[in-house]
Amino acid sequence: MRNFKQVLFGIGCYAVLNVAAYAAESWPAVEAKLKKADVPAAQSERVIAQAKQVGADAATVGAWADRIVSARAQQLPAELLTERMMQGLVKGVPAGRIERALDDLQNNLAWCKQALEAHVAKAELRARPQHAVQAMRQLEGGLRAGLSTTHWEQILGKTVLTLDQLRAVAETSTDLRTLGAPVEQVVVTMHEAAKGGADARELDKLSREFSGGVAKGGAAAELMQEFRRDLQAELRQNVRGSEFAPQRPDMPSGGDMRGPDMQPGGGDRPGGY
């Protein structure tokens, strides 16, 4: 009986503390959290002003700010969370939905970071942080478009890519999926593109042809087959071209952006991702 009373007392204290913490959350505290997450002062002022305008309370926005701080601690591009939060606020999205979107975004970005570290050389990630964020944006856009992490693992396989290659593969895969191409076809075709070291211009050209075909009312599955045929032809041409081009282990040959494992005899990275 005495233990029961103690437990009850503990629960009561916990509840009171929680209520007190919730009540104590204020706009200056939210501002301090945003500052901790490196959000520029002007931006956090606008976020708070917008939140007040749509009637969001400090405790709710404080919880979102906590998520941004936690994303920063995970070394994720927290500015993307701030943007998503702001986007939700200006579009008048309900608070619960913004909460879920931020949750999804943080999880997605954590996965994207791992994918980048697994498929791009560390030196390039260090040297081109802004491009790394762009590539993460593309991968995250793909996850939002319905390509799951499993699909991305199948697309990227064990390849080692440059940031530009990875961004191009991610962008094209997402475009194809958004335009209605069947997932299985996207996965198989884009894995070939990644493995074959297709460059951004080739993929962009093929993607435009695909979207043009869809705009004219073509069936996505058939257009996808056409895309794959054209891609394979381009990749064969690249292989033939690279046989005569001077080889450098650190540089794609003849404008082609193929990574180290794409060089003749390179193959997939052993024991990789």
């Binding site: 701030t82 939700g88 944006r137 939002r144």
Partner: protein, 188 residues
């Protein structure tokens, strides 16, 4: 008789009693024993360090000196904060944006019945609305300079209606059940 007088009498009696006592010499070794007990033993360095740190001290100060010390401490902390790597990084980020090469991008929306159209997107962190101008043919147009990259955006018609650009190069789900238009700015 007052208490004071009683106390004086007691003291006189005590003096008389003490004077009647025989004067005895101390036993051999008594003086040495007392001196040994009161002599300060040699203390180890960590005991001295402990005392140095934790022995209570009296600090004397005046108001002018304390105010001056507080001002110096505050100014030092402010200067350290401004010279921190975090601030330097933020300043650098802004500078990079200013010097980066940009490309003028034209956004167009053919919405004849609209009274006001604005553009919002990644390029303004979804914060500032860029107003579009009505062209003679009735279309709404804005031109903005952007650095290379992909940008998600939407139009806001009459401050209430969110519209995806029907002529966009591509689209992305916005995470809230709608889709944003995407514009790709090539590097120059």
């Amino acid at each position: 008789m007052t208490n004071r007088q009683k106390q004086d009498i007691d003291e006189q009696r005590l003096d008389a009693w003490l004077g009647s006592m025989p004067v005895l010499p101390p036993s051999p070794g008594f003086v040495d024993g007392v001196m040994r007990a009161v002599r300060n033993p040699k203390r180890s360095w960590h005991q001295r360090a402990w005392d140095f740190c934790f022995a209570p001290r009296v600090v004397r100060f005046n108001f002018a000196g304390a105010t001056m010390a507080a001002v110096v401490a505050f100014a030092s902390a402010w200067m350290l904060w401004n010279a921190s790597p975090q601030s330097a990084q933020l300043a650098g980020r802004g500078a990079a944006t200013v010097t980066q090469a940009t490309v003028k991008v034209r956004f167009t929306l053919d919405q004849q019945d609209a009274r006001r159209v604005a553009l919002v997107g990644d390029f303004t962190q979804w914060q500032t609305q860029i107003p579009l101008k009505r062209a003679p043919d009735g279309a709404w147009i804005a031109e903005i300079a952007l650095p290379a990259g992909d940008y998600e955006y939407m139009f806001v018609v009459d401050q209430t209606q969110w519209v995806s650009d029907p002529r966009a190069q591509r689209y992305r789900a916005d995470g809230f059940g709608n889709r944003n238009a995407v514009v790709t700015v090539p590097s120059v």
